[in-house]
């Protein structure tokens, strides 16, 4: 299979970015929108073509989907270590190409309506293209360092887009927070890469992941050095996962995600729901054989628990939030936790790898319905000019398309058959059930909570009483409605894609069956969640407040996101700024510089004191001369005695 054209998929958005970025003042807004959409449309078409070629024309080679790599050396470190740049085509990278280009294309189309009349229209499209380029580069990376490079680039595009309204202090600080928190996590990632590079002598994914089919173990050899009881490679993987957890807003690095909602809503849909935030999941999936085979899945178990805990934690917070974008943000975190958990409980071969498959499946379906939810929320916000539930109500009459599509997405995320989320979530729960009962029960609980908080905001927005609106809300223009409709269709059909045929850990595929009892439980829990939301929120009543009160302190904690932000603020402001930085600056001024100054000043003092000796008076000199003669004479006499 000739894969050279795949280079164009990321490079077209890059070209668009350069074109729009450099000429942002010269190009008319209307034209820049078209350029952006056109660029993405070509990338999207190429991705679809690539997927068709890969899965249907090339198909399986020796019973498994192959990994095709094309790369060149970009930078040499040592004789063995180097950074390559290139593309890697395999089942998950092709799937991610589809996800990224689809969502990005929809967001581009949508933004033409949403951002209309904004000052920085061209700049916005330039940033979107930059992000798309970086994300596609990340997806296609052939080695750890290449993925790290694009990892940082998506981070910076995210920074630029969160801080898009840069005159708003809250947006600026949210952007800063997102960048610094993820950068801190990336510190782990980088050290992990250094460890991997040193002990395995390669950064290359294909070499790292190679599995010997006969022994069923990694081909790779490394010196079995251990550190604090764990193999260094396990440490490397844990640290790499730390980077993934940062990007994917897992505990305890999740604090940037809710604030990231300061960015324009289409950005939240693209970056903070569908694509960038799943980069961590993708990273673990990319290194899955390593995670699975090294030291009995030790690192993989950490992935599972972090995912499971984050998922539950975020779902609880989501119930209490009143800003609809923040509810969606926590929902994203919760769903990504699901994906992480599924990866974490997965096996490798055949049906044991159901978790891996489910994770990728859920990544795919979640991208569709979560992007739809965000775009729908954007449509609502566009109409009522507020993010808060208290300013919304009864909108179904005014915005029928948004209402229907949002409802479809809500059904999908709640796991109601036959919508997409049902199929992928079911597989996740199957995987959890087979491997870790505790995580399974937590997963079921999350399923119920998800259905509840999602219908809470659905009813809150579209049902209930009308609010006093500035002007009568109206349905969004076609440019915004089309992406909603398209994604709504995807949220239904995506579930019917036979993922287990195409995307599995061992690339061989297996046949998945619906597990009816587990599916029934999941659906049942979901329906209960929806029903509770119906009772509490369909008609406005005081029930919800009453129950919230009965939870007392716990409700308050959840509402304040369990005070994680305050904790971080304490660490940065009180410890790093006041206890490290300020004393450092003081120490530098007073002690280090003070010493230097002291030397200088003392020199002046000493010279002032001794300059009197050179008085110019003959008698002083004569006196000194005589003293000198006497002293020397004494010395000589003493010495010669």
């Amino acid at each position: 299979m000739n894969i050279c054209y795949i280079y164009l998929i990321p490079l077209i958005p890059l070209a668009v970015f350069l074109l729009l970025g450099i000429n942002s003042k010269r190009i008319k807004p209307a034209i820049s929108g078209y350029i952006g959409v056109l660029g993405l449309l070509s990338s999207f078409s190429l991705s679809v073509y690539a997927a068709y070629q890969y899965f249907f024309v090339l198909g399986k080679v020796d019973g498994a989907y192959p990994q095709i790599v094309d790369k060149t050396v970009w930078l040499n470190f040592t004789e063995t270590l180097h950074i390559d740049m290139g593309i890697m085509v395999d089942s998950i990278s092709i799937m991610m190409l589809i996800v990224v280009t689809t969502i990005s294309l929809m967001v581009h189309i949508y933004s033409r309506g949403y951002m209309k009349g904004d000052d920085g229209y061209t700049r916005f499209f330039a940033y979107l293209s930059l992000f798309t380029f970086s994300m596609l580069g990340l997806v296609l990376a052939t080695n750890l360092f290449q993925i790290y490079i694009f990892w940082e680039l998506v981070g910076v595009s995210s920074y630029l887009l969160i801080g898009y309204y840069y005159t708003k202090p809250s947006a600026v600080s949210a952007a800063k927070k997102a960048f610094i928190v993820t950068r801190f996590a990336d510190l782990g990632f980088l050290i992990g890469i250094l460890i991997m590079g040193y002990y395995t002598g390669t950064f290359d994914f294909k070499t790292l992941n190679a599995v010997n089919p006969e022994t069923g173990e990694l081909v790779l050899n490394w010196a079995s050095t251990s550190f604090m009881g764990l193999s260094v490679i396990t440490w490397g993987l844990i640290l790499i996962f730390m980077g993934g957890a940062g990007k994917s807003a897992m505990m305890p690095f999740h604090i940037w995600l809710p604030d990231a909602m300061e960015g324009p809503t289409p950005v939240s849909a693209l970056i903070h729901a569908a694509t960038m935030v799943v980069a961590g999941v993708y990273l673990v999936a990319r290194l899955f054989p390593m995670f699975y085979f090294v030291e009995d899945c030790f690192a993989l178990n950490i992935v599972a628990w972090v995912g499971g805990i984050s998922s539950l934690f975020a779902a609880i917070i989501a119930i209490t939030q009143t800003d609809i974008k923040r509810v969606l943000a926590f929902s994203t975190m919760s769903q990504i936790g699901y994906m992480m958990m599924a990866l974490g409980v997965s096996g490798y071969e055949g049906h044991e790898g159901v978790g891996y498959m489910a994770s990728m499946f859920h990544l795919f379906t979640h991208a569709m319905f979560k992007a739809l939810l965000f775009l729908g929320a954007g449509s609502v916000i566009h109409a009522v000019h507020s993010n808060y539930l208290k300013d919304m109500g009864g909108l179904r009459k005014y915005m029928p398309i948004t209402n229907i599509t949002f409802l479809i997405a809500a059904f999908a995320i709640a796991g109601v058959p036959p919508f997409a989320g049902f199929w992928s979530k079911d597989e996740i729960l199957v995987a959890a059930f087979e491997n870790n009962q505790l995580l399974y029960y937590s997963g079921v609980l999350v399923a119920g909570l998800t259905a509840f908080y999602m219908f809470r905001i659905y009813f809150g927005i579209f049902w209930g009483k009308d609010r006093t609106y500035e002007h009568t809300p109206h349905e969004s223009p076609m440019s915004m409605a089309f992406p909603l409709l398209f994604l709504a269709v995807m949220s239904v059909v995506a579930g019917f894609i036979p993922f287990s045929e195409f995307i599995t850990a061992d690339n061989k595929g297996f046949e998945a069956h619906l597990n009816y009892p587990l599916a029934a439980i999941a659906v049942g829990v979901g329906v209960i969640g929806i029903a509770l939301a119906w009772i509490f929120y369909k008609k406005e009543n005081s029930l919800s407040d009453k129950y919230a009160k009965s939870f007392g302190v716990f409700y308050k904690w959840a509402y304040h996101k369990f005070y994680f932000d305050e904790l971080y603020l304490f660490i940065t402001k009180k410890i790093i700024f006041d206890r490290i930085s300020a004393p450092t600056a003081w120490f530098d001024k007073k002690v280090v510089d003070g010493t230097m100054e002291g030397i200088g000043n003392k020199t002046v003092v000493v010279s002032n004191k001794i300059k009197g000796i050179q008085s110019g008076k003959l008698q002083d000199y004569a006196f000194a001369f005589i003293v000198g003669v006497v002293v020397l004479a004494g010395v000589f006499i003493y010495l010669w005695k």
Binding site: L75, T78, T167, T584, G600
Partner: protein, 496 residues
């Protein structure tokens, strides 16, 4: 005249030309032409070097040797390798950019440009010298005009800063001179004449006792210029008072002489001394990396932030050199280049902001992006490059350094490397704080509406610096391989 000597002659000719100029217009035109010629020569030198390297595998190429002072065996001995070639290119670019940034230097323009070009003469001479004494002379030529440049054209407590900077650098020079003479006095250890020639001395086995004694002197003598903790305090005050172009040249080029000297003289000529002292200085360098970054967080003056950032980033250069392997050394050289371009950009931008708002206090500036879109965009780009974003030169340098540092399997080096890696987060904190405060957020200054937009000469100056940053960041292989090749003989020296 040979290709290298021209690098010293052209600035001198330019200076002579400047003597006859009458006003700012003439002075800047002459300086610009001189620096343009210099840049053309530097670019030519890169190509000539690559061509020559293909057929000539001696350590230094384009060598020339003239006896200068026979009695002490002092020669005018010059030659370059890949490292000096890129350093010369850096100098040429920063000097030209500096001339553009000083386009409106109203006060004593002729004298200003003369001092600037004398300084650059010293720098070029330093990079081409292969004779310790000649090198030292050029080193002094580069340092002395700094006093005048800050003392006369500076701002704030300029006399104080100029005095502090000069005294500290002179103190370092004195120690350095002792070290150099120490090497000279031992250069006949294997028999033969005393010599100052670097290539000759490298072949001599200087006794260990002498190496142990003189290495710290030479190292500290150079490293003070490279802002080695705790001898860095001249740099914040000096930079804060210096006029824009001087800060650019000083942080961009002059401070690089430190790392270059450490590598070319201290480590190459005193390999056993290096091994003996490396751990001690490594701790100091690593401290500087982290310390500079934390100190930068708390500063409120734009130039102080940048000065402390330089302490951190140049600490990384010394840190990498002391790691004593090829990868890290490669990173050190690229970091020198990268920091040279980036810090010059930063100082240029600070100059532009200061020239318009008349303040450098970050609490008094805000939302400049809205009214100065070009400067704002470049500021963000420079900040991103500075914090090591891939696609810019800083990333290439830092990754070489970190991978190099991690090649040592022992705990001591690992811990220090991790410490140095952690500075990338702290760097992100102060850079984003800075960018967020002054470029983003609501407008803070009064009468902001009529701030002049960036002019053509400002844009030219900035783009001159930005192009190499992106070029190195996007396609680092050619540069990195050219440097690696030149490092080979030196690393063998240390590890022999």
């Amino acid at each position: 005249m040979d290709i290298l000597t021209l690098f010293v002659v052209v600035p001198i000719v330019t200076v002579l030309g400047l003597v006859f100029t009458k006003n700012l217009k003439q002075a800047r035109t002459v300086s610009m032409v001189g620096s343009l010629v210099q840049l053309a020569m530097a670019i030519n030198l890169v190509f000539a070097y690559v061509k020559e390297r293909a057929v000539n595998d001696s350590i230094m190429v384009f060598t020339k040797d003239l006896v200068w002072f026979k009695h002490f065996n002092i020669h005018y001995n010059i030659g370059v390798d890949g490292i000096s070639v890129v350093m010369i290119l850096l100098t040429a670019i920063v000097v030209l950019a500096g001339v553009f940034i000083s386009w409106k230097m109203e006060e004593l323009p002729k004298e200003f440009f003369i001092s600037l070009l004398v300084l650059s003469t010293g720098v070029y001479g330093f990079f081409i010298s292969l004779d310790l004494f000649t090198m030292f002379v050029f080193f002094e030529i580069a340092v002395i005009p700094m006093y005048l440049l800050i003392g006369i054209w500076g701002s704030g407590p300029k006399e104080y800063s100029a005095m502090k900077l000069t005294l500290m650098l002179m103190g370092a020079s004195a120690i350095l001179l002792v070290g150099i003479l120490g090497i000279y006095m031992n250069s006949n250890a294997d028999g033969g004449d005393l010599t100052f020639s670097i290539l000759e001395i490298a072949k001599v086995n200087i006794p260990f006792e002498a190496q142990k004694l003189f290495f710290p002197m030479v190292f500290v003598g150079f490293a003070v210029l490279g802002a080695l903790f705790p001898f860095h305090t001249w740099s914040p005050d000096g930079h804060a008072s210096a006029p824009t172009a001087v800060s650019m040249l000083h942080a961009g080029v002059l401070m690089k002489l430190g790392g270059y000297g450490v590598f070319r003289v201290a480590m190459y000529l005193l390999p056993e001394g290096t091994l003996h002292w490396t751990d001690f200085f490594l701790v100091l360098a690593a401290t500087g990396v982290v310390y500079g970054a934390y100190a930068a967080i708390k500063q409120t003056d734009l130039k102080y932030i940048n000065a402390y950032a330089s302490v951190s980033h140049l600490g990384l250069v010394l840190f990498a050199l002391l790691m004593l392997n090829k990868t890290a050394w490669n990173g050190a050289i690229i970091q020198s280049l990268s920091h040279g371009f980036l810090t010059a950009m930063f100082f240029a931008l600070i100059g532009m902001v200061y020239g318009r708002t008349h303040t450098r206090d970050i609490n008094k500036i805000g939302g400049m992006m809205k009214i100065l879109p070009f400067i704002g965009a470049i500021y963000v780009i420079t900040g991103m490059a500075y914090l090591g974003l891939p696609g810019f030169s800083g990333f290439v340098a830092e990754m070489n350094i970190f991978v190099g540092g991690f090649q040592h399997p022992d705990m001591f080096h690992r811990v220090l490397t991790v410490l140095a890696v952690s500075s990338i987060v702290v760097t992100a904190v102060y850079i984003l704080r800075l960018v967020g405060k002054i470029m983003m957020g609501p407008l803070e200054t009064n009468n902001v509406e009529n701030l002049p937009k960036a002019t053509w000469y400002e844009k030219t100056g900035i783009l001159l610096l930005l192009i190499p940053v992106i070029a190195i960041g996007v396609a680092p292989l050619w540069l990195s391989d050219m440097i690696r090749e030149s490092i080979q003989p030196f690393i063998q020296g240390v590890l022999r």
